[in-house]
Subunit: 232 residues, 2 copies
DNA sequence: GCAAAAGTGTTTGGATTACACCCATGC
DNA sequence: GCATGGGTGTAATCCAAACACTTTTGC
C-alpha cells in the first residue's frame, strides 16, 4: 500500500504543551489558570499552554511556556496525557501534550505575562467552562495527580514547608472526596520520615496542632536502601 | 513578549503513532516487531508505527496504522507516553505517541504489509537494538503495562481463553521478575470471577491442571456494584 | 467549665506470609 | 513406584477499620 498523501503534507501540524499546575490552599486543590488575550477563546480562562519551537525538547518547552505565561521557574514538570482530536483547535491541527506540576502556592509568585492578561487559582472541584478542550485535559490530568498521590510522596510538594497532620489528611480527603479516620490516618503515615518541630499552630481557639516537615533526605535514603515503598 | 517565529512555521512538524502490542507465549511476555522496508533504519526491527493523517483522531490513527502494517483489527489500544526529542527522527521533527495493546498471540494472525517486510514476536527481556528511540519507547510502555497488570484484569487479554492457574502465575512472575508462592497466589485470585472448566490439561507427564476462563460479564457486574476492586 | 479540635489506645477481622503436606498423571 | 508438577490446609503475623477515649487551647 502506498500513500495517497505526499510526504511533505504530513508536516502540517502544530504541537503544543499545556502546563497543569496544581496547588493546595484553603483546604482545596487548586489549578492555575490564565485569561487569554488573543483569539481563539479571547477572554476565556485556560490552562497555560502554547506552541512548541522547532528544535525544542518537550519538557524544556513545557517549562519555557510556563515561564513565558506566568514567570514561574524551576518547576518540575511531569508528562500526562496527549490530546489530538483533529478539531480541538479552531485554527488548524494542533496536538497537545499535558504536563503537570505540584507546587506550594504560597512560596511562588505567578505573574501574568506574554498573552496571558490575568491569572487565578481555581479549585478543581468548582470549575467553569474553559477554552478549547481544557476541561477534559484538566480532568484527565487530575486523575494522573490522584494516581501520583497514592504512589509517591508528592503531597509534600503541595503543602507548605511546615504543615499539620490534619492539613495532610485534609489534602487526601479533598483529593479523593472521602472522609478518613484520624487515628488510622496517623498510624498509616507513621512510617514516613517526618520531622516534628517544637513549634505549634497559633491563634486557634482549640488545642494547637504540632507542625511537621517532610524529611526528603531521609526519604531518599529509605528508597535507596529499598526497604520502604510509599503507598497511600 | 512576542514570537520571533511566524505562526505558519509552527506548522512544520509531523506526528506519528506507535502501537506496542504485547502478547504472552512460552512463559514470556513478547512484543510485536516489524522489519522496516524503507529508510531510515531500513532493515531494522521496529515497533509498528507511522505518520498520522491530517484529519485523523489519535486512537483511530493508531488502529489504522496497526492494520496497515500487520493486518490486525479490532484491537483495543491504550495511550501511553509521548516522545518528542527534536532529533529522534533523522528526516525531520516527528513527535510520536505510543499506544499499547494486550493480545492473545494464538488467536490472531499478524501479516506483514505496507512497508513492513517481516514480522516477529520478541520477548521483552531479550531485545536487540531497535530503530529510532524504540528501545526507550518499549521500556516506558512496558512500565505502563506493569502498572496495568497491577490495577486491572488485563492479564486475561494476554492469556488464551482457557488457561491454567499456573499460566496466570507465571505471567505475573515474568512481568515482575519475581517468584511467587503458589498457595498464596491462589488464595489471592480466589476473589476473581473465574470459570472452572471440567476440561483438563492433556499429555503432560504429571497431574493435569484444571482449565479456567475469566468471567468478563461477572467482572463487569462486580465493578458496577462497586464492591470489588482488582489489585495484584 | 465548655466547645472544638488535637492526639492516642484497644479490639477485631481479614489479608499476607511461610511452609508442610497430599494428589493425579506418564513412564 | 517414582518423578513431576498440580493443588490444599494451617498457624503466625501484619494491617486496616471502627470506635472510644484523653489532652490542650481560647473564651
Amino acid at each position: 500500500m502506498s500513500y495517497k498523501i505526499k510526504f511533505e503534507q504530513f508536516f502540517s501540524y502544530s504541537f503544543s504543551l499545556d502546563a497543569v499546575i496544581f496547588g493546595y490552599k484553603e483546604g482545596k486543590i487548586q489549578v492555575l489558570l490564565i485569561k487569554r488575550a488573543m483569539d481563539p477563546f479571547k477572554g476565556s480562562w485556560a490552562i497555560p499552554g502554547d506552541l512548541i519551537y522547532p528544535k525544542e525538547d518537550l519538557s524544556v518547552a513545557a517549562s519555557r511556556i510556563l515561564y513565558d505565561l506566568t514567570q514561574l521557574e524551576n518547576i518540575q514538570l511531569l508528562q500526562a496525557q496527549t490530546f489530538g482530536s483533529p478539531y480541538r483547535h479552531p485554527q488548524g491541527r494542533v496536538i497537545t501534550c499535558a504536563y503537570l506540576a505540584l507546587v506550594n502556592i504560597d512560596q511562588l509568585n505567578a505573574v501574568p505575562s506574554s498573552w496571558a492578561v490575568e491569572l487565578k487559582w481555581q479549585s478543581v472541584r468548582e470549575l467553569q467552562a474553559l477554552a478549547f478542550d481544557h476541561n477534559m485535559i484538566l480532568k484527565s490530568t487530575f486523575d494522573v495527580l490522584k494516581q501520583k498521590l497514592k504512589s509517591a510522596p508528592v503531597c509534600f510538594d503541595l503543602l507548605p514547608d511546615k504543615f499539620t497532620l490534619n492539613d495532610l489528611q485534609s489534602l487526601y480527603e479533598y483529593a479523593f472526596d472521602t472522609v478518613l479516620d484520624k487515628a488510622n490516618f496517623r498510624k498509616k503515615i507513621k512510617s514516613l520520615p517526618l520531622i516534628k518541630h517544637n513549634e505549634k499552630q497559633r491563634n486557634v481557639s482549640h488545642r494547637p496542632a504540632a507542625l511537621y516537615s517532610f524529611d526528603r533526605l531521609k526519604y531518599q535514603e529509605l528508597i535507596k536502601e529499598g526497604i520502604y515503598r510509599f503507598k497511600m
